[in-house]
């Protein structure tokens, strides 16, 4: 078992003929993901990924022809909001948006629209999902992960790889690795993913990787205290970040004295979540059970 994506996922790639889209589609296929369709307006009727994937003009056509049930979005930032809405209206249930740099006000509208629908959005500005041995959706390097019983959820990209790599090196495998993204407005939060891991019978422990900015970690800590029976190990990046400066991610900024690493770490420790001092120490803590 895994959460969100597995070997039955029928994936559609929006922006499949772009440089990033095609490169990562090939990697996803190589990993064993069922990539059933691609969408690029104006390129319908063609093929992508060395003739392995049919391309359609619209998501609705792709869904009707191929039965795709999940989508991954690689289209440029200025068109990404439209791509997410199109997938939503075509009945796609899981939309994973990799695109970085979508204007926040576009995401306010997208999120408000999605709140009225069934579809789940992961991201934007995220590395996607990886269920080891089953499917990878997005850009995580597949070889760093291995099957096992730890669920990983993170706001970061390469920091997630670092942690997953350290877990794998210690012989600790994962059920699913979920990158929720570093933007201020995202589709799926820590709490949503924690809840899925709590309900997943194969997930025995959870690793949560947070960073400065916002209060999602604090809300996650409350959720863990109230609802989670499985042990959680956390790491929060940005202890040394100065206030008022944006640390790369649009969401990673300490503003008005809130969103600091200290507050987040204190919130986790207060509810019995173990907090690692540095990324590789996460594996040590998880190994303790």
């Amino acid at each position: 078992m895994a959460i969100l994506v597995d070997k039955n996922t029928r994936l559609l790639v929006q922006g499949i003929t772009g440089r990033e889209g095609e490169f990562h589609s090939l990697q996803m296929i190589e990993y064993g993901t069922q990539v059933v369709a691609g969408v690029t307006p104006g390129k319908g009727g063609g093929q992508a990924c060395d003739g392995q994937v049919p391309v359609f003009d619209t998501v609705a056509e792709a869904v009707a022809e191929t039965g795709a049930n999940a989508s991954v979005v690689y289209v440029p930032a200025r068109f990404a909001a439209d791509a997410i809405l199109e997938a939503t209206d075509a009945g796609i249930q899981l939309i994973v948006c990799i695109t970085e740099g979508i204007p926040t006000q576009d995401m306010v509208l997208v999120r408000a629209y999605l709140d009225q629908k069934e579809a789940r959005l992961v991201g934007p500005n995220c590395p996607g999902l990886l269920s080891p041995g089953q499917a990878k959706v997005g850009i995580m390097p597949g070889h760093i992960a291995t099957t096992g019983s730890v669920g990983v959820v993170s706001r970061s990209g390469t920091l997630t790889y670092e942690v997953v790599y350290a877990l794998t090196a210690r012989g600790i495998g994962q059920t699913t690795c979920v990158g929720i993204g570093g933007d201020p407005i995202i589709g799926t939060t820590f709490i949503d993913v924690l809840s899925l891991f709590e309900d997943d019978p194969l997930t025995e422990q959870v690793v949560l990787i947070g960073e400065i900015g916002g209060s999602d970690e604090e809300r996650a800590a409350r959720f863990i205290a109230e609802r989670m029976s499985k042990p959680v190990t956390a790491f929060v990046a940005g202890r040394t970040a100065p206030p008022g400066k944006r640390m790369g991610h649009a969401g990673a900024i300490i503003q008005g004295g809130t969103g600091t690493a200290e507050e987040k770490i204190a919130a986790f420790e207060a509810v019995g979540v173990r907090v690692a001092e540095h990324p590789e120490q996460i594996a040590d803590l998880v190994a303790q059970g």
């Binding site: 979508i102 006000q105 995580m140 390469t158 407005i185 202890r239 990673a252």
Partner: protein, 383 residues
């Protein structure tokens, strides 16, 4: 991107928010001419992108044009929190009876814009939130419905405005929300919004922060960027597509990914060092961008050692190594260098670095890399 007070107020005015008469000058004489046109007392205000201008002597009242010249001269020679004052705004002085606060931000928890009003105007809203949280009234704005009349009325009553001012307040609130939306702002603020002696509402000070991700829709605003807000290094980094923040430590860091870059800074601190910068070379960085990044790091005189931490995914370790070697051709590093390259094409990357005339210290784990960088910065480690 932050906008200056005068830029923000002009954009608010486009959407119907009343602002004082005034203009901007870069010289004391220019300020005097504006003061003459105003025919009365004026306020001379430094235009720098930091808070606390008043306390620093950057905002002063002048009764006559001659006084305005004198004050502009003094203000234009100031440096406020490290930023030189290059412009002053000369506004007609308002007859202030009461000061209120009105602002809009994107509320992450709520995932929508929230409008805040407070009877405690003229004070930073964060300060009010700490000391008198009950004084702040908020309404959440549904993006499909917009800001509704009942909401602005509720805010007006909530902060104790009397009947005669509620309509004007409502119009200003609508104008502020329109400006917020029209310019892809992440913050739009009027502080203070004042009630004048003749019973009018006037936006005496304004502030707007534009979402950098939305700037492609506003090329006119992008041109307004004040490069003084950034250090020259930060400016070069932004132009090269790098995310760079200068810090005060002695270990330069070059990392791919924002989260990993922060974690790298943290682990340096954990092992007793201090990071000289935050630097994210971004995903899929090519050799040229890496070279720019290394040049920027080595230009910082505080840097005693450099740590490269690259976890290859989209980014290829051999591309990073090429960039490092390119930079070495121009900037001869005189400090020890510690490299940890893991992931996509790591073997090729290490091979390239081994060919360099500069000996790099290598490390396998992040902890090992950080410990070596800390030791190297103290001169306790040689390649």
């Amino acid at each position: 991107m932050k906008l200056h007070e005068y830029q923000s107020k002009r954009l608010f005015a486009v959407h119907g928010v009343p602002i004082p008469r005034g203009d901007v000058a870069t010289t004391a004489q220019g300020a005097g001419r504006i003061a003459e046109e105003m025919r009365g007392p004026v306020v001379v205000k430094s235009q720098v992108l930091v808070g606390g201008r008043g306390k620093a002597g950057g905002i002063r009242l002048a009764q006559t044009p001659a006084e305005a010249v004198e004050m502009a001269e003094a203000i234009l020679s100031l440096e406020i929190k490290g930023l030189p004052v290059r412009k002053v705004l000369v506004d007609e002085a308002a007859d202030i009876q009461t000061e209120i606060y009105l602002g809009i931000v994107v509320d992450r928890a709520n995932r929508r814009a929230v409008m805040m009003a407070s009877s405690e105007g003229g004070v930073e809203i964060e300060e009010v939130a700490r000391t008198k949280p009950d004084a702040i009234k908020k309404v959440s704005i549904d993006p499909f419905l917009g800001l509704r009349g009942y909401q602005t009325l509720g805010l007006a009553k909530g902060i104790g405005l009397t009947e005669e001012h509620t309509r004007a307040f409502g119009r200003i609130a609508q104008g502020l929300y329109k400006a917020f939306q029209a310019y892809d702002a992440s913050l739009a603020e009027i502080n203070p919004l004042v009630v004048t002696g003749d019973g009018k509402l006037l936006a005496v000070d304004g502030k707007m922060v534009i979402d950098d991700n939305g700037l492609f829709r506003h090329p006119d605003l992008a041109e307004m960027r004040d490069v003084d807000e950034e250090t020259p290094t930060e400016q070069q980094a932004r132009e090269a597509g790098l995310s760079y923040v200068q810090l005060e430590g002695e270990i330069g860091c070059m990392v791919n990914g924002a989260g990993l870059a922060m974690a790298t800074m943290d682990i340096i601190k954990h092992f007793g060092g201090a990071p000289a910068n935050f630097l994210d070379i971004g995903g899929g960085a090519k050799a040229e961008r890496v070279a720019t990044a290394l040049r920027l790091i080595l230009e910082d005189p505080n840097v005693r050692a450099v740590l490269f931490n690259v976890f290859g995914g989209i980014t290829r370790c051999d591309e990073v190594a090429k960039g490092i070697l390119t930079a070495f051709e121009e900037v001869k590093p005189t400090v020890p260098l510690v490299a940890r390259l893991v992931g996509t094409n790591e073997a090729e990357g290490r091979e390239l670095l081994n060919q360099s005339e500069y000996r790099l210290v290598t490390a396998t784990t992040l902890a090992e890399a950080a410990q070596k960088a800390v030791a190297a910065a103290r001169g306790e480690l040689s390649a």
